[in-house]
């Protein structure tokens, strides 16, 4: 924790930064995407306003996510995550141009009895009447076939959210499509 705190303390040369700290953002970097997804869930449950983004190129390994957090909240966030046995590898400051924003564009296709929602490369198809998830397609990461095998046949209202059992960006994209389908079909 000391290392974290040292990194957070403003130096002489960036005195001015101290005044801006309340609005400054940093990225928490984790060992893998599963930890990011778990950490996001824990932090959101506890009321932290965080969002997942893509890390900048110098720390990118492949199938990566990072969590954008307000700098001033880092000590509390680290403590909370530690109690849940998740510890970020590092935190870094960033510029808006460097980070990547997750997809936020959805494609919806109505097949009459069925509705298909696509987020990025992931699609989920639901029976509109019974709300049964009938198909999952697209994607290229290893949790996609796994999530498909356990989601198909479940009811959209009662199934687990894909990000609970997903480990990759494809799994996360499927979660976004799932949430959108839920919003469109289960909102009444």
């Amino acid at each position: 924790m000391m290392e974290w705190l040292t990194k957070l303390l403003p130096t002489k040369r960036n005195k001015k930064d101290k005044t801006n700290q309340s609005s400054q953002k940093a990225l928490l970097i984790f060992e893998n995407t599963s930890e990011v997804i778990q950490a996001e869930r824990i932090l959101q449950t506890q009321g932290y306003k965080v969002k997942v983004v893509g890390p900048p190129p110098e720390v990118r390994k492949g199938c990566d996510l990072a969590i954008e957090v307000p700098v001033v909240e880092i000590p509390g966030i680290i403590n909370l995550l530690k109690t849940r046995k998740i510890e970020p590898l590092d935190f870094i400051s960033f510029s808006e141009e460097e980070i990547l924003k997750p997809v936020d564009l959805f494609h919806v296709k109505d097949f009459g009895e069925y509705l298909m929602v696509r987020a990025a490369n992931m699609k989920i198809t639901v029976d509109k009447k019974t709300l049964t998830i009938v198909n999952v397609s697209g994607g290229g990461c290893p949790d996609v076939p796994y999530l498909a095998s356990i989601l198909i046949g479940l009811n959209l209202k009662n199934s687990f959210p894909p990000k609970e059992k997903g480990h990759t960006l494809c799994g996360y994209a499927l979660h976004l499509a799932y949430e959108k389908a839920k919003e469109l079909l289960c909102s009444e």
Binding site: G62, K101, F111, Y114, A120, C141, S149, I152
Partner: protein, 284 residues
């Protein structure tokens, strides 16, 4: 020899390799029975069905269990990097795997050492890793869907999840996405773009499009992209030139789909059963 590598969504499956047999909607390899409902197993099954028609031997496959945690993928990358040189492949298809640049590069470097480079095909996670590693044009054929084409066209996106909105919203203008993918060297010589209309491309030039029969339900069915990649891989191995293989695979995938009279709830194994019939109809 024809090779296929990818993961299977079963954590208990260790790294296995060999020539599988297709029986009762399962791949049989060693003592393992793997359902062909999706992913790499569906790709292999469609390749086997295609090879049956042309009386060619089944592929040698390299599989490992991985449900997204990446441990299986890591061992598969390592195994391929260390052992590919022991075989002489004419065609090799890389499929579902956790995209990881460093491990992917080790596999590519091991292929570079082969005396004769196989015809290299990538789809799914391996295609993402190859693009991010900057080695797209070391490969011969990618088989993206529309979302993945937008990702290839986005020189900044390391994964389809980060494809920028202006490219995703531009999906109707497929030709400009194709052009952009080549402009940033993120496409191999051949592209087979899977969608409502399939596009066969060679070095930026659209050679053909296939849109008949149109079966809209296929888009919703998980595995319809895998079957087309399996078929095109097998057809190239069977001796078809890449352009003809892409066109025939695209047509056969649609026809097999149409013969299955699918709904959006149909599962891919139902369609795979119709592949031999579709290929026979198309090749006379």
């Amino acid at each position: 020899m024809f090779g296929i590598a990818g993961i299977i969504p079963d954590e208990t499956l260790p790294l296995v390799y060999g020539v599988p047999v297709l029986k009762d909607n399962h791949l049989i390899i060693d003592r393992w029975q793997i359902p062909i409902e999706r992913g790499t197993a569906a790709l292999i099954a469609s390749a086997i069905k295609t090879l049956e028609v042309f009386k060619k031997p089944n592929p040698i496959v390299f599989l490992v269990g991985d449900i997204g945690k990446g441990t299986g993928s890591k061992s598969l990358y390592q195994f391929l990097a260390e052992n590919l040189f022991q075989h002489s492949f004419q065609v090799f298809t890389f499929h579902y795997i956790l995209p990881e640049v460093d491990s992917c590069l080790k596999v590519i470097f091991s292929i570079e050492k082969l005396s004769k480079k196989p015809f290299l095909i990538a789809d799914a996670g391996f295609m993402y890793a190859v693009k991010m590693a900057g080695y797209a044009n070391f490969f011969d054929l990618f088989t993206p869907d529309l979302g993945e084409l937008a990702f290839l066209a986005d020189e900044k996106a390391p994964h389809p999840f980060y494809t920028r909105g202006f490219l995703l919203s531009n999906e109707k203008d497929i030709e400009s996405l194709i052009k952009r993918a080549y402009q940033y060297q993120n496409a191999p010589p051949y592209l087979l773009v899977k969608g409502e209309k399939d596009w066969v491309v060679y070095n930026q030039e659209v050679l053909a499009t296939v849109d008949e029969p149109l079966v809209p339900e296929l888009e919703a069915i998980g595995g319809t992209g895998d079957t087309i990649t399996g078929m095109v891989s097998a057809l190239i191995y069977a001796g078809y030139p890449p352009e003809k293989a892409c066109i025939l695979a695209a047509k056969a995938n649609r026809l097999a789909g149409a013969l299955a009279s699918p709904t959006p709830a149909t599962q891919i194994s139902t369609i795979i059963d119709f592949i031999p019939n579709a290929l026979k109809k198309l090749t006379g």
